[in-house]
Symmetry: C2
């Protein structure tokens, strides 16, 4: 089974208390793809500029990511520059240069349109909806968003949510979207918008799944050292959706495992800059950390 | 088996977004005692003024708390007034009137001195040490503290920790005590001070146990409505130590269960002002919520 992801491919410049890196590989679709590629085949739809290093494309191909949908446009690749302080939570954005990403309105390759699993990474909900309309009959549509869209494209986002199965967002986003401080109340409000499931990402505090009356509280793996949290949320989503794509049905037990796999993948993302650690992870690393999380939380 | 607790008995005036209450029963030793009384016998050592309503003493007796060590001094009972905002974390203290508590230097009743389980609630570490010196041979000494003592009585606290088995503290306290931001590093530093175990209380995000290389990440129960978080930490400690007092040994499995029982008890504390809900909890309520926490986190 394969997953289609539509999102950004970027060159990131990042400062954290642990160091700085310039123009390294990043972007929501990249973190998602590489994470999910550990579970299933991934088809990537995104745009880069003609300055995008070919070694990054080779890297994605080596990870088993199908890059037929990676369009090269004339101009520069999307660039983001940000800085994290010691608490490693929300970064301070120093600059965002959309470049070729500003006109991103993807034409989904014909052979991708009947994908059963679709991840709409964090882009304009209007574009997310245009992507969704090109799909034949996806079995599972998951979607990410951010406070910018919640504030500025709320009607479009709410309309999109009617057609989404799983919404992933963080605590501040779900509070912004629903106006509810309490996470249970906020999650119930999201479910009324349409998604059958909502996953609240709480960073170092784990995550919560709400599906009807069913709630799962997933632990976080404890990290002794974090180098760069960029991409952790997309990597998490890659683990969740990548694992779900391997399940015949999506039972509550499957969903719980999927979320734990997502958490495991995110731990690799933050252990080094860009995809240095995430890109070299093997099946044994993943299983070992999955079992550690089980040991950490069993009672 | 019985637990001895030494701490404060107070009359609290509390404002939360859910309402306000004036001069209601509170204090670390009260929350701890009532919580632990669901698991084992509790001996309470504390001081109140001659204005302390006798109905509160009757209430403690009815909960099976031995109040032989509750001294009535001439003067007024310790009063605390505080306010919580919507995030229900650290309250803003409006006033603290120590009153009779200012000279608290307890003489432990002879029949309590051979207690096997001792909880030193949050008081001056110098007094905590004086209590400890009066004990014959406790099997397990647990202790709480706060940022005020960490900042102002650090040498006394560090000296005390050499003789403590379990230190309970919250995230900001463990960071203040150790100067480490990362919780694993902070916990390792605490263990080097002496305690065999440290429990980090993370409020709505659960708690962490560190014991040598053993780590347990305990989930939080999800609350749809919080009325008053006062006493949650002491209630948690009451569940932990109360349950441990029923265990022949303190295996890692016992410790994990104890922490989950602590989390369960804390959920009752925050469901109403003062001890209104906590004081009326029965065995079935506790077991039901314990099983809910298991269902919430199993994978």
């Amino acid at each position: 089974m394969s997953v289609l992801v539509v999102g950004s491919v970027a060159l990131d410049t990042i400062r954290t208390p642990m160091g700085r890196r310039r123009d390294v590989l990043g972007g929501s679709a990249v973190y998602f793809s590489v994470s999910a590629s550990n579970f299933c085949r991934v088809n990537l739809v995104a745009v880069v500029g003609d300055d995008f290093p070919s070694r990054h494309v080779d890297f994605l191909r080596r990870k088993g990511v199908d890059v037929k949908g990676l369009v090269t446009a004339s101009g520069k690749t999307f660039r983001w520059e940000g800085e994290y302080d010691w608490n490693f939570s929300d970064p301070r954005t120093i600059s965002t240069k959309l470049n070729v990403f500003s006109g991103f309105d993807p034409d989904i390759p014909r052979e991708y349109r009947n994908s059963k699993y679709l991840f709409l990474a964090n882009i304009d909900p209007h574009i997310q909806e245009r992507v969704l309309r090109q799909m034949t009959k996806p079995k599972l549509v998951a979607c990410d968003t951010m406070n910018y869209w919640i504030e500025n494209k709320r009607p479009e986002l709410v309309r999109l949510l009617k057609k989404v199965d799983i919404l992933l967002l963080n605590e501040s986003e779900i509070r912004g979207l629903t106006g509810q401080t309490n996470l249970i109340k906020a999650a119930k409000a999201v479910l009324r918008f349409g998604p059958g499931k909502v996953i609240v990402k709480k960073g170092e505090h784990g995550s919560l799944l709400f599906s009807g009356d069913h709630i799962f509280s997933a632990p976080a793996y404890l990290m002794e050292s974090i180098i760069d949290p960029t991409g952790a949320g997309d990597t998490f989503a890659g683990g969740v959706i990548g694992y779900l794509a391997t399940c015949r049905r999506q039972t509550h037990a499957d969903l719980r495992k999927a979320i734990v796999y997502g958490s495991v993948m995110a731990t690799f993302a933050v252990e080094d800059f860009s995809l240095r650690r995430l890109g070299s992870v093997g099946r044994d690393d993943i299983l070992r950390r999955y079992r550690e999380l089980k040991r950490l939380t069993y009672f």
